[in-house]
């Protein structure tokens, strides 16, 4: 391999090393440390001046105590499970909302499509945090939604929506919708209209043609969109803490509490490392799928 090529390849690897592997190594190290009243709030810290002996001492003080702690307190695995469940359900809901949007966009007249695409991306122009706060105003006891329902006479007294899992689902579906819509739109837009006519010609009704041709052919988009929603939703912190109240258990919130309320960095790091390990399974599946699709295209 010549030098030029090596140099070229080394750039992305250097980025990965610097931005992913090194921080992960630090987190992993903290997760193996013990809590301490110090700055930083854990021991041991690595001391270069102590030389080789110092390094061996340092290694001998690391242990898996925090990980075994995670298994003892059922708060953690309940939080993990609840996170996975909320993320999975939110992904399904996002798909149910997002697919019709993407389908409508892909079948809209060509001159409308850029505008529709713009409308899907538009929320990104405002801070995510402000948009989630806006939902507090909508879902609250005296929020707009309750006011509207009371005014129309659908309900007699305000519904409790804020600080419930319902609000969390609303928040996640709302926030991650573009990540579902865009990949599905990309696959639907490429769909050859002749295929649907061929299906109809061969005896399908419109709905059968949709189910037997459109849906299978938009599968890559559905899968990509689902992963793009599911993976960040598992670790979501802002939405459950702003909209979910204290009753909604999610691992992102637990992580936050460990770091900032308990100041227990080692346990928090262990939670983070475990979360990563849990997410690696779907990520690897996702990547393998992407690779397969690319091979199919080639």
């Amino acid at each position: 391999m010549n030098l030029r090529r090596l140099l070229l390849i080394s750039v992305p690897y250097a980025w990965l090393l610097l931005l992913f592997l090194v921080p992960f190594g630090i987190v992993l190290k903290i997760s193996l440390s013990d809590q301490a009243l110090a700055i930083p709030p854990y021991t041991p810290t690595f001391d270069l001046a102590a030389g080789w002996q110092g390094f061996v001492d340092f290694l001998s003080k690391l242990d898996f105590e925090n990980y075994s702690w995670l298994t003892q307190d059922d708060l953690y695995w309940k939080a993990y499970l609840s996170s996975l469940q909320i993320a999975a359900l939110s992904t399904v809901l996002t798909l149910l909302v997002g697919y019709p949007i993407a389908y409508g966009m892909a079948n809209a007249p060509t001159e409308w499509r850029p505008t529709l695409m713009m409308l899907v991306i538009l929320p990104f122009w405002t801070s995510f945090l402000i948009r989630v706060y806006a939902w507090i105003g909508i879902l609250g006891q005296n929020g707009y939604l309750n006011q509207l329902l009371l005014w129309t006479g659908v309900i007699d007294e305000p519904l409790v929506m804020l600080n419930t899992p319902f609000a969390v689902y609303i928040g996640i579906v709302y926030t991650y919708l573009p990540f579902m819509v865009l990949p599905i739109y990309a696959t639907l837009e490429k769909l050859d209209h002749d295929l649907l006519e061929a299906a109809e010609d061969l005896g399908c009704s419109r709905f059968q043609a949709f189910w037997l041709v459109t849906v299978p052919l938009s599968k890559p988009g559905i899968i990509a969109g689902s992963f793009l929603v599911f993976i960040p939703a598992v670790g979501e912190f802002v939405i459950p803490s702003l909209l979910g109240g204290s009753r909604t258990l999610m691992i992102g919130k637990v992580l936050w509490d460990e770091f900032f309320s308990n100041r227990d960095w080692p346990t928090a790091s262990a939670v983070a490392v475990l979360l990563l390990l849990i997410l690696i399974v779907p990520i690897v599946l996702f990547q393998r799928h992407q690779q397969k699709m690319q091979e199919l295209d080639a």
Partner: protein, 381 residues
């Protein structure tokens, strides 16, 4: 076979039999897209077992005509019947018509066998019979070995056959082929044309093919309809279309032709003498209708029906002298461009029976062009 009545002929020509009922009937059909008229008050009968070609340049309405048969477009006015049944309001999935798409439209997520089975699974055919039917269709198009491949794993020619097999699997009364061979290279296209004819003959299904390739239409079709601007210009067998075009448009669209504008000098007994340039002998040609003296007309004569010689052939009815301007060598034939007095250039095609080195004429030679009176057709429209 012994009981065949004596009047019956071996030639398949139901369109000449006034008692025959057509399978498809277009009755004063008009199709408009907004202010654009794609099909203009068109009436046409297509008979069972025909291989019918719709031929014309892009935008002439041939594809619209086909899509109306498939049910993807509905006529603005007029009636289309199939086997006597009015097709209005019958959706594509309920018509006994299948279509082979120009893009083939094979389902990329299904195997070759599943593509062929797709239509059968939507029909009331028993599940146990489907596999047998698929095998039969695979054998018909010689693709049995590729049953489990996906469409992207086979060649363009094989995809074309899968599309054909899929469209034929449900044994439709009518098969529509939309530019079926356009994506194939020339050699494969020519082979496939003959295969299509074989399959059509074997199955006896009525085929309607849409094409802009006049050679393809001439090769495969029992009858050809030449279309222009949403109208039928001529509907006839390939021989008639070629030998007796009814208009300048048809003559010019099908094959090579020399079109010479002229004026009728006299017309008796179907023979017309036509003057076409000052100081040149008039030309004698057969006209299908009686023309009056002074009528303007056009003589159409195919390049291969012209003979070229160094001296005036003594017994030639029509002989014109000119000068060789250009020679195009195509291997099997050579095309001579011969300049006439008055600047007109005639194309003459001569089969190359001899080696090129023995070519009798070369650039700037004075030559005579001659043709018989039946070689030329007099056109008025």
């Amino acid at each position: 076979m012994n009981s065949t009545p004596a009047v019956a002929t071996d030639v398949f020509a139901p369109w000449e039999d006034p008692g025959a009922t057509p399978l498809i009937r277009f009755d004063h059909v008009t199709k408009r897209f907004g202010s654009f008229t794609a099909i203009d008050d068109l009436s046409l009968d297509i008979y069972e077992r025909e291989f019918f070609a719709l031929l014309g340049p892009s935008g002439c309405g041939k594809t619209t005509l086909m899509r109306m048969l498939a049910g993807f477009e509905t006529p603005t006015e007029g009636l289309i019947t199939l086997g006597g049944q009015d097709l209005a309001g019958v959706p594509p999935n309920r018509r006994p018509v299948n279509m082979m798409f120009q893009s083939y439209a094979l389902f990329p997520h299904l195997t070759v066998a599943d593509n062929i089975a797709f239509g059968l699974k939507r029909s009331d055919m028993a599940k146990s019979e489907i596999a047998g039917r698929v095998d039969e269709m695979l054998a018909l198009v010689q693709l049995s070995k590729f049953a489990s491949r996906k469409p992207h794993q086979i060649s363009g020619g094989q995809r074309q056959r899968v599309a054909l097999a899929r469209a034929l699997a449900k044994a439709p009364k009518l098969l529509l082929l939309d530019e079926p061979l356009a994506a194939l290279d020339k050699k494969l296209r020519e082979e496939t044309q003959f295969e299509l004819m074989d399959i059509q003959e074997k199955l006896g299904t009525t085929f309607v093919i849409v094409t802009h390739d006049q050679e393809e239409a001439m090769t495969v079709a029992s009858r050809v309809a030449v279309m222009d601007h949403g109208r039928l210009v001529q509907v006839a067998t390939p021989e008639v279309i070629y030998e007796q075009p009814n208009s300048r448009y048809v003559a010019d669209f099908i094959g090579d032709v020399n079109l010479i504008e002229g004026r009728v000098l006299e017309c008796t007994g179907g023979k017309c003498r036509i003057s076409w340039a000052e100081g040149v002998d008039p030309v004698t040609a057969i006209a299908s209708e009686t023309l009056n003296k002074g009528d303007s007309c056009c003589i159409a004569v195919r390049p291969e029906k012209l003979a070229i010689s160094a001296q005036r052939p003594p017994d030639a009815v029509n002989a014109l002298s000119g000068k060789v301007l250009d020679i195009g060598y195509l291997g099997n034939i050579s095309t001579y461009h011969v300049g006439m007095p008055g600047g007109r250039v005639l194309k003459v095609q001569v089969a190359n029976h001899n080696r090129l080195a023995r070519r009798p004429f070369t650039w700037d030679d004075e030559v005579w062009i001659s043709f018989t009176e039946t070689a030329a057709v007099v056109l008025t429209s």
